[in-house]
């Protein structure tokens, strides 16, 4: 039902709906539509459609393929000779790391991966509930870890302490490796351990957030 007082010369709702696919996303054309200005129903419709489109833009890639996929790719590429086969070089033991390399830069890259997982949690979950009283100390003061634990608790309360304990372990690993590397930036072993520690933490985040369990 059109609202009282609408200009009789503008289109009716049915006509407007017919034109809508070609007006939406066309900038000013839609805003200047006389019908839209006079019809609350159609304004709501357009607002809904725009909102859906806006929300879709915010959907992040959120699924990882089964590890088997990479295995199949690697096997095929080796068979085809695209990948050079044979033993991989001892990358961790060569001294040829450029002196400008800063493990914190790499750590930042992996932290970006961690942040992605955290962002996924934020988009997939309603705001975490207020943390209930707990007798055990939380895993870490890192707010990202706190969010991970809140997400785990929502899904499976029994696993929260499991993840808390493992986050403590892996954070201790990271701290130890960083400390050693800061004392001796040339320590290749410590550098590799820092990488491993971040990889372990990334695995925790990935397992916790990429769950298809219901």
């Amino acid at each position: 039902m059109n609202e009282v007082g609408e200009n009789k010369e503008s289109m009716n709702c049915a006509e407007f709906h017919k034109e809508l696919p070609y007006l939406i996303g066309e900038g000013d054309k839609l805003e200047h539509s006389a019908h839209l200005q006079g019809c609350a129903n159609c304004r709501e419709l357009v607002a809904d459609l725009q909102y859906i489109a806006d929300q879709a833009k915010l959907l992040l890639p959120m699924h990882d393929p089964n590890p088997r996929v990479w295995n199949n790719i690697q096997t095929s590429l080796e068979r085809e000779g695209v990948i050079a086969g044979g033993r991989s070089p001892r990358l961790g033991l060569t001294p040829s790391r450029p002196s400008r390399w800063n493990p914190m830069v790499w750590a930042g890259g992996l932290a970006a991966a961690l942040l992605l997982a955290i962002t996924l949690m934020q988009t997939n979950q309603s705001p975490p509930p207020a943390a209930p009283e707990s007798n055990t100390a939380e895993a870490a003061v890192d707010p990202n870890d706190q969010q991970l634990l809140a997400a785990v608790e929502q899904r499976s309360p029994a696993l929260k302490q499991v993840y808390a304990a493992n986050l403590r372990s892996v954070n201790a690993y990271i701290a130890d490796a960083k400390r050693t590397l800061e004392q001796d930036p040339g320590d290749d072993g410590a550098r590799e351990h820092l990488r491993e520690a971040y990889a372990q933490k990334a695995m925790l985040y990935e397992v916790a957030t990429n769950r298809s369990l219901e």
């Binding site: 295995n71 961790g92 033991l93 499976s156 372990s169 892996v170 072993g189 990889a199 925790l204 219901e214």
Partner: protein
Amino acid sequence: MSEKARTAWAGRLVAIALLAAPVFSHAQKKEFKYTVTPGATVTIVNQRGNVTVRAAAGRQVVIQASPASDRVEVDAAQTGNRITARSHMLQKATGDEVRVDYDVQLPADANISVDSGSGEVRIENMRGSVTVVSEEGQVHVTGAAGGFVQVQSVNSGIALNNVQKSRVQATSTGGAIILNAVAGPSVTAKTTSGAITFTGDFAGGGNYTFSNHSGDINVTMPTSASVDLTARSVNGTVENDFPLQKAAHAAFQMKEGKSLAGVSNSGASSVELKSFSGRIRVKKQ
């Protein structure tokens, strides 16, 4: 007993049975059967409960699921050569109410993928790829030779036994990893706080890398093993009673009591043992 008394007793028995019913009302065990061609993929997704997977003769996949209550349902479907069986909660269920135990039999050449929350996972004698993600619950993989075994665990131990000719990746943050007779082109075992124990001959000329933050790394191999081995613990110790010939690893930072480098036989396989603060031990079998 009079008829009236018998009837009364029967009535009481029925009443007792009805009252007792909720205690025994497990959901019905379900069985799904599918026929597949070689190279099929079977995926099990289960929040709580044990999953046992065994290779069987023939071309059938048989999935037996035993839900603990009627608050959890099992869905299974086949699309082409892929089968997925998944547990999901029907209502807000807690604890063991969501438990489903799976028993899966399938052709050895199938690929198996298990996504498990809490519960033991056992996989036996598969020739296809094996991938497992487990939050809490021991994972045992025995007799695999399919080219790819990957196990990720948050808190539990991983035991791989007799896994051959496969790329192996075993990662557990909080659990221990035990590798017995595991060999392939690439074998990695990584933990944060768990011990890593390897027994075998490092066959196949592959790359073997074991790494942890704390906890022991114990390697036991026969003197016939052909390895090019380096071991280093940043803050822990390295102990060796295996006969290794010193090799010139020019890039390797040697530190007395904290590192080791050497070759056995032709040094066909590369072995790297890395612990941050744990003890590394290399022993002769």
